[in-house]
């Protein structure tokens, strides 16, 4: 479980976050939305303990990660998988070495065993191991790079929490659809607590159970999709204005999915 309690953060004299509070329950998927530069990615860095809040608490698995020593933070990070913006793959290592990086560094497994596990993980994230394992990151497309990054995060830490920083930025619509599908599938199958930072509302709607909107470092919304649609907060309205049609459209399509699912389940229950 993740909890942010009145968290503020500043880079030098620039205030990035002010009094942000929300929580992510076990197995829940939360989307943090907001315009570029609003402080969304900083929240992920705070959860991971890469930055320390200037005020407030960031509780991860019951510990205020900002107050822990680095060695203790490392223990907590073992439960967290992080997919950085554009993947952050190690550009001098092959795909296989990237995916098996954590095991190479922290385990005494033989390279053949690590290679096999990396290969299996590449399959899990929808890549053909034989085709990509010896390639360098620069030889991959944007979508493939994100998949490798997701595979690396999963194989690295066997996480209970997954953090995604703008996972679809710069991808074409098809790759975006595939990556969102993968994130949703991992969330569902592994029951991971998932936090996705995005400025694409359609991405958020495709994955999340709950939505947090950050504008200029302030949290202006925390609630469900219906509450988001019905919000009358002027800041939320101004952020949603360009996407209003897609929000309404997706809600309607989700509702029809639920209705269709209920109808298909009813006869089985009866029988």
């Amino acid at each position: 479980m993740i909890q942010l309690r009145s968290v503020s953060f500043a880079y030098g004299e620039k205030q990035v976050l002010q009094g942000v509070s929300f929580s992510v329950d076990d197995g829940e998927a939360v989307a943090i939305m907001g315009p570029s530069g609003s402080g969304k990615s900083t929240i992920l860095r705070l959860i991971l303990g890469l930055e320390n809040a200037s005020d407030g608490e960031v509780i991860v698995d019951g510990h205020d990660i900002g107050k822990l020593r680095e060695s203790k933070r490392r223990q907590i990070r073992k439960n967290i998988g992080m997919v950085f913006q554009e993947g952050a793959l190690f550009d001098s290592l092959t795909v296989g070495e990237n995916v098996g990086y954590y095991l190479l560094e922290h385990s005494k497994l033989k390279w053949e065993e690590i290679d096999q596990r990396a290969c299996r993980m590449l399959g899990e994230v929808g890549l053909n191991c034989d085709e990509v394992i010896d390639l360098l990151p620069e030889q991959l497309s944007g979508g493939m790079r994100r998949r490798v990054a997701i595979g690396r995060a999963l194989l690295s830490t066997d996480p209970t929490i997954m953090l995604y920083d703008e996972p679809t930025t710069g991808l074409d619509p098809r790759s975006t659809h595939n990556i969102l599908g993968l994130i949703e599938q991992l969330h569902r199958e592994k029951n991971l607590s998932t936090v996705v930072v995005t400025h694409q509302i359609a991405d958020a709607i495709a994955i999340a159970d709950r939505y947090v909107v950050i504008i200029d470092g302030h949290m202006v919304f925390d609630g469900s999709l219906d509450e988001l649609r019905d919000s009358r907060d002027p800041k939320v309205l101004s952020f949603l204005a360009p996407f209003r049609a897609s929000v309404t459209g997706v809600i309607e399509s989700r509702l029809s999915d639920v209705v269709a699912q209920n109808e298909s389940e009813s006869p089985q229950e009866e029988s």
Partner: protein, 262 residues
């Protein structure tokens, strides 16, 4: 903004950067002793830094030695003291020219590449990814480069010294018409503990200076590609100036202790 405020801000920034550099250097030294040792990375860096710089150092040594010998051969000739050329060459190259030239070449070639490489890793969040996977980027990235510099800079300084003395010999024998025996016996006369010690102490000090500054600028670069470029320029400038300052301080203060051995 008034001139006074601008100067004040500049001084504050310089003081803060120096403080941060000191803290970063302490972290690097601590990581050297208390964190995991990355042998393969260190060997790779020794090859990149040492072997990669060899050609540059050979060229620097031979032309610096020849130029210096040529200038002094003319001056000494006016006083009929050409036979002292070897002595002057040995003192100048072992104590000053060899270490400083090698240090400056390393500042240009190695410091720039270290800062640019680390800066690029920072801007693409690879350093953050390492931290997220429980790896200390200072131990993994900075320390192997520091160790490689500590081992390779003195080694290449010795090579630079030898090549510069050889360049001086060419000028002495073929242009200044000094006998080969006289040149080398004059050189050997000044191969004393004080000069040799100074010639090794300086590159060791320079290697720390380059490692601390180059890694610090890389780890603290901001602002994407432009920021990495700026950090690289600042790193080379800071390394070059620092090498000259450290060289002066060592010459000034260590010479006093070694007077009897020079």
């Amino acid at each position: 903004m008034s001139t006074f405020t601008a100067i004040n801000n500049r001084l504050k920034f310089a003081a803060k950067s120096t403080q941060e550099l000191f803290y970063f250097s302490v972290r690097m030294i601590a990581a050297l002793f208390f964190r995991k040792t990355y042998f393969s990375e260190t060997l790779e860096q020794m090859y990149t830094i040492g072997y990669g710089s060899l050609y540059l150092i050979l060229l620097t040594g031979v032309f610096a030695g020849e130029g210096f010998a040529l200038a002094f051969a003319h001056e000494l000739g006016d006083f009929g003291a050409k036979n002292y050329l070897g002595r002057i060459m040995a003192i100048a190259i072992l104590r000053e020219l060899g270490p400083v030239l090698t240090g400056l070449m390393f500042a240009a070639r190695v410091a720039s590449s270290i800062t640019a490489e680390i800066g690029a890793m920072k801007s693409s969040q690879q350093l953050d990814a390492m931290t997220a996977f429980g790896i200390d980027p200072i131990a993994k990235i900075a320390v192997p480069r520091m160790v490689a510099l500590i081992l390779m800079l003195p080694a290449l300084t010795i090579i630079c010294d030898a090549i510069a003395l050889l360049g001086g010999w060419l000028i002495a024998v073929y242009l200044a018409h000094v006998s080969s025996n006289i040149y080398w016996s004059a050189v050997m006369e000044r191969m004393v503990f004080g000069n040799l010690f100074m010639g090794i102490l300086k590159p060791i000090a320079f290697s720390f200076v380059i490692a601390f500054i180059a890694c610090y600028f890389g780890f603290n670069s901001r602002g994407g590609t432009k920021g990495v470029g700026q950090a690289t320029t600042n790193s080379v400038v800071a390394c070059s100036i620092s090498i000259l300052i450290v060289n002066f301080l060592i010459t000034k203060f260590v010479s006093d202790y070694l007077k009897g051995y020079m």
